[in-house]
């Protein structure tokens, strides 16, 4: 199996998960249409970058800008690692954000309820 194909096989699920995740967030009205479009564009750009790696490498090799004519296994793992970290960081940020908001709401409601109870 070529390393280019391996790169696509490893990364396509992450990109698809990112795209579906953004769509679900939008459809469940957790994010606005602009945020959904922005996130979708970012994931498509990443996917475009992955697809374009081999043609870019070939172009640079033919023009004597680089010596390597194909990716090493390390390159494949490195790119996959970066995209995986991006995917996880985005997920973690969304979860932390949501948790923070819930804690704030809980604190607010609890403060009001306890003060009302104290007044009675």
């Amino acid at each position: 199996m070529s390393r280019y194909l391996l790169l696509i096989i490893l990364n396509a699920p992450l990109v698809i998960a990112g795209l579906i995740g953004a769509l679900v967030e939008y459809k469940t009205r957790r994010i606005s249409i602009f945020k959904w479009l922005g996130t979708t564009v970012i994931w498509l750009v990443i996917f475009g970058g992955i697809i374009g790696v081999q043609p870019a490498l070939t172009f640079l090799h033919e023009h004597h800008k680089i010596r390597a004519h194909e990716m090493s296994l390390f390159d494949v793992l490195e790119i996959t690692g970066i995209i995986y970290i991006l995917f996880m960081a985005n997920r973690s940020r969304i979860k932390t954000d949501r948790l923070e908001q819930r804690v704030q709401d809980l604190h607010q409601e609890l403060s009001i309820r306890l003060s009302e109870k104290q007044d009675q």
């Binding site: 704030q104 607010q108 403060s111």
Partner: protein, 242 residues
């Protein structure tokens, strides 16, 4: 003749360690609003004070909500507005608990809100000739904060950091923000724009007392950098959320 029913107004004071002055602030508000056309309730949100602010406020006649944890000015204001919403107030006003605002300016703002039907009315310390009591540094920082608010969020106001704000019923129902510190002042304007609320300003007096200037936890000049940092972060995180 049927007696006209007064409008129910919530006067919200977010407070943190303001025991020294909050009693007088509440008494002044009671005095001014007793003869007004509004049925005003003073709600003090004690943001985890350790100097007996809540006790002093209660003795002065305010309804007190005690925060279990210290969250910051934005969190305390949000709690006060959530309470006003739950209690079905028609209008709400927020003002600083350290005596920075003249109660007559609150009254003026409420009248202005009724005549203009604005959803969010900001008492601006930088409109008209009321800036003479403000130091040059504060004036510069306040104008800079308004510029940052415009650049990041596209909301053009003269005093984005003012604590005196009037909220319509519509704003009470629809306005939410996420930050809990002083940066909520700018974020609130952004959220108001996102919720299609009408935001306007009116001039108020600038009152800097010895107490408000000497506060260690107040909106100090250096804190401005933290505010800007948090706002930039918030804008980047929500880059596409317009």
């Amino acid at each position: 003749m049927m007696k006209q029913q007064k409008l129910r107004v919530a006067l919200i004071l977010p407070a943190y360690n303001e025991a020294a002055v909050v009693g007088d602030v509440i008494k002044n508000l009671h005095k001014v609003f007793a003869s007004s056309a509004y049925d005003a309730s003073i709600i003090l949100v004690d943001d985890g004070s350790v100097d007996g602010t809540a006790r002093v406020a209660e003795q002065a006649g305010a309804n007190v909500i005690r925060h279990i944890l210290n969250t910051g000015s934005g969190g305390a204001t949000a709690t006060g507005l959530a309470y006003a919403r739950e209690q079905g107030f028609t209008l709400a006003a927020t003002l600083d608990a350290d005596g920075q605002h003249d109660p007559h300016d609150v009254l003026k703002g409420l009248d202005e809100q009724l005549s203009t039907s604005a959803d969010l009315l900001i008492g601006s310390r930088l409109m008209g000739d009321s800036t003479e009591h403000m130091s040059l540094v504060r004036r510069f920082l306040n104008r800079s904060a308004s510029l940052v608010t415009f650049v990041l969020f596209g909301v053009n106001v003269t005093d984005s950091q003012s604590g005196l704000r009037i909220f319509s019923k519509n704003a009470l129902e629809n306005l939410r923000w996420r930050t809990t510190g002083y940066e909520f002042c700018s974020e609130m304007l952004w959220r108001a724009r996102q919720a299609n609320l009408v935001v306007t300003e009116y001039p108020i007096k600038t009152i800097y007392t010895d107490h408000s200037i000497s506060k260690p936890n107040g909106q100090s000049s250096w804190n401005a950098f933290n505010i800007v940092k948090t706002l930039i972060r918030q804008r980047i995180v929500e880059l596409f959320s317009e």
